[in-house]
């Protein structure tokens, strides 16, 4: 009776192969049973494989596996070491950053002083009557005064019938004020009571010279020229010259010496002209003389500076006695900040820990962080191996140095340290990924060898001696068995996911 089961071509082919294999197997078995073997080149004894040789290979591989897993542990120790090193370097970084956040101790720069060699002892024109004023009733008191060589003005007062010294003084003061104002020198000469009841005339500033003439006898003033000495008088030739000053990089100021309205002739005018420039002028006693001193105040944090230029600079008459120069205040080291100093010692302590950790990352006598090398052999003949090059990751080799002295007191030093730390972190992370990649390679090969060992072990259990005929038959049987198994299917599936799928 005919079967109504329809077989696909593939299955039919497999069934045929099975039948064929079964036939071959029976032939082979028959031959083996009768001892009548076929001689062929393939039957040479060297092609027979003993179970002993298989298991010794398996043992060799086992020894390899042990060595590889030692290597793996060494790598893991190094990897662990680097992970800890990264943490330590990161905490070193945070210590340095904390130190950086503390206000930086500032350097102080001392006052800049420069003193000249010209005597600027200014004098004011003055004259005191030689005797007390003669007080008389209904009498005219007068004298002529001329300022700085100008036309003389007559100062006069006529006493009343009941004259007193005070009335005479007040009357003359009023007249003097009027006359000076008329001459354009208002207030430049003052009249006051001298010793006893004398009259005393004083120039208001060193620009003023005055001449007394035709003094009435009752005033007891003596005719004559009374002169002041100003800067121009004390340093003949200074007029028409100039000085330019600049303090701390500010706006330069140029001062011209002379008698014109906006020019400087007296020390007081010089001080006024310097106002707002940051430069101050003073007269420094030098024995009997007084020398000009120009100064810039001390600064903190930034360097102070005084730049002097101009024709009025130099030495001796006709100058200010001060040389043209660029001057800086002397720096004065700050008091170290104790908090910063504390962070500095913490930082150094962390570096010591880094060195200790590096020494500890040893496994089985090999320390990949101390420059040791590790050779891992991957096959029993030693033809496949990799050599893992160690690195030196103590603090010095990571580019990190102990901070000495006042290192952490200055921000610029901390910034340099932070740069070194960042570089060290890059080095560490790069090496961590190198070791990681090597570890993956070693693990992959370890898995491969382990699988191989399993195959060899199971193979050696079953095999005693192989025969070429038997093997041929076995191959055919395997061919069929694989076709029906899932192995072929999963191989196809893997191929479909690879570039092979493009070959359709």
């Amino acid at each position: 009776m005919a079967s109504d089961i329809v077989l696909s071509a593939g299955v039919r082919q497999n069934l045929l192969a099975l039948q064929n294999t079964a036939q071959l197997m029976s032939v082979t078995q028959h031959r083996l049973a009768t001892g009548k073997r076929v001689n062929s080149a393939l039957d040479s004894p060297s092609n027979f494989f003993t179970s002993q040789s298989l298991s010794s290979r398996a043992n060799d591989l086992s020894a390899l596996l042990d060595a590889i897993s030692q290597a793996q542990k060494t790598l893991e120790a190094a990897d662990q070491g680097i992970t800890s090193l990264i943490k330590l370097v990161e905490s070193a970084k945070s210590v340095a950053k904390q130190a950086r956040q503390i206000a930086e101790p500032q350097v102080t720069y001392g006052t800049i002083d420069t003193t000249g060699d010209v005597d600027f002892s200014e004098t004011l024109a003055t004259h005191t009557g030689t005797a007390n004023v003669t007080v008389a009733n209904n009498t005219a008191y007068s004298f002529d005064i001329s300022i700085n060589g100008g036309p003389p003005r007559t100062v006069t007062y006529t006493s009343d019938a009941d004259a007193t010294y005070s009335e005479i003084l007040a009357g003359l003061q009023a007249s003097l004020a009027t006359e000076l104002a008329a001459a354009g020198y208002a207030g430049r000469v003052t009249l006051s009571q001298g010793p006893g009841t004398t009259l005393k005339l004083d120039a208001a500033d060193t620009d003023v010279d005055f001449t007394i003439a035709n003094a009435s006898a009752e005033t007891n003033l003596v005719d004559g020229a009374y002169t002041s000495s100003n800067l121009l008088d004390l340093s003949p030739g200074l007029a028409g010259k100039f000085i330019t000053v600049q303090a701390n990089g500010g706006t330069p100021k140029t001062i011209i010496f002379g008698n014109a309205g906006d020019q400087v002739s007296t020390f007081a005018e010089l001080q006024a002209a310097l106002a707002g420039t940051g430069v101050t002028a003073a007269l420094t006693p030098n024995g009997a003389a007084k020398n000009l001193t120009l100064s810039v105040a001390s600064t903190t944090g930034t360097q102070n500076a005084l730049v002097l230029s101009g024709t009025a600079l130099g030495s001796g008459a006709g100058t200010l006695g001060i040389a043209a120069a660029t001057l800086n205040g002397a720096p004065i080291a700050p008091t170290p900040d104790p908090t910063r100093a504390n962070y500095q010692s913490q930082y150094n302590e962390i570096l010591t820990q880094i060195d200790a950790l590096t020494k500890d990352s040893v496994y089985n006598g090999i320390n990949l962080l101390a420059g040791d090398q590790l050779k891992v052999v991957f096959n029993e003949r030693g033809t496949s191996s990799i050599t893992i090059m160690g690195v030196k990751f103590d603090s010095i080799n990571l580019g990190l140095n102990q901070i000495t002295g006042t290192g952490f007191q200055a921000n610029v030093n901390i910034d340099a340290t932070l740069e070194q730390i960042d570089a060290a972190l890059v080095t560490l992370r790069t090496q961590a990924s190198n070791f990681g990649a090597t570890l993956t390679t070693v693990q992959t090969r370890q898995d491969f060898i382990r699988n191989l060992t399993i195959i060899l072990r199971s193979g050696s259990d079953e095999l005693v001696l192989a025969d070429t005929n038997e093997e041929g038959a076995n191959m055919l049987a395997l061919q069929t068995r694989q076709q029906l198994s899932t192995t072929a299917l999963s191989l196809s599936a893997q191929a479909d996911q690879a570039v092979l799928r493009l070959f359709g």
Partner: protein, 144 residues
């Protein structure tokens, strides 16, 4: 040094994870760099891999062209395990393949796998030929 590959019109090669097809005239390619290169004649497809040794070849080829070869290790070990169980005398060849895989020389491993295919053919032919002889030769059947 660049590798020279000459392609006939329509011929294809695997280059890394791509297939390059020569669409025009005979072409000569110079290839530099580390990438898997496989000529069409060396390519084993799942359809053609119909024997144990060819399947081993296919598995090695998959490793060669894969970015992560280790994903094909399982099937490879299954295949060589079965092969060794059937024909232990193939061990020297398989050992060489293993060694090349371990050393990372997958192209050389592929060449060795080709030797395995030849060896398998020899084994099967041997078994078949003898079976044939047995049927033809009367002398074999004569009484002792």
């Amino acid at each position: 040094m660049a590798l020279k590959v000459e392609l006939k019109p329509g011929e294809r090669i695997i280059l890394g994870e791509s297939v390059v097809t020569n669409a025009g005239q005979r072409t000569r390619l110079l290839i530099e760099g580390a990438v898997a290169i496989l000529r069409e004649k060396d390519i084993m497809t799942p359809e053609r891999a119909d024997s144990p040794a060819k399947r081993v070849y296919l598995a090695v080829q998959l490793m060669y062209t894969a970015r992560v070869p280790s994903i094909h290790h399982d099937i490879y070990f299954k295949l060589i395990g079965e092969f060794l169980a059937a024909a232990p005398s193939a061990w020297p060849i398989i050992e060489t393949i293993n060694s090349e895989i371990l050393t990372g020389n997958l192209y050389k491993a592929l060449k060795e796998a080709r030797r395995l295919i030849a060896y398998e053919e020899e084994l099967i032919a041997h078994a078949k030929r003898r079976a044939g002889l047995r049927q033809d030769r009367e002398g074999d059947r004569s009484a002792a």
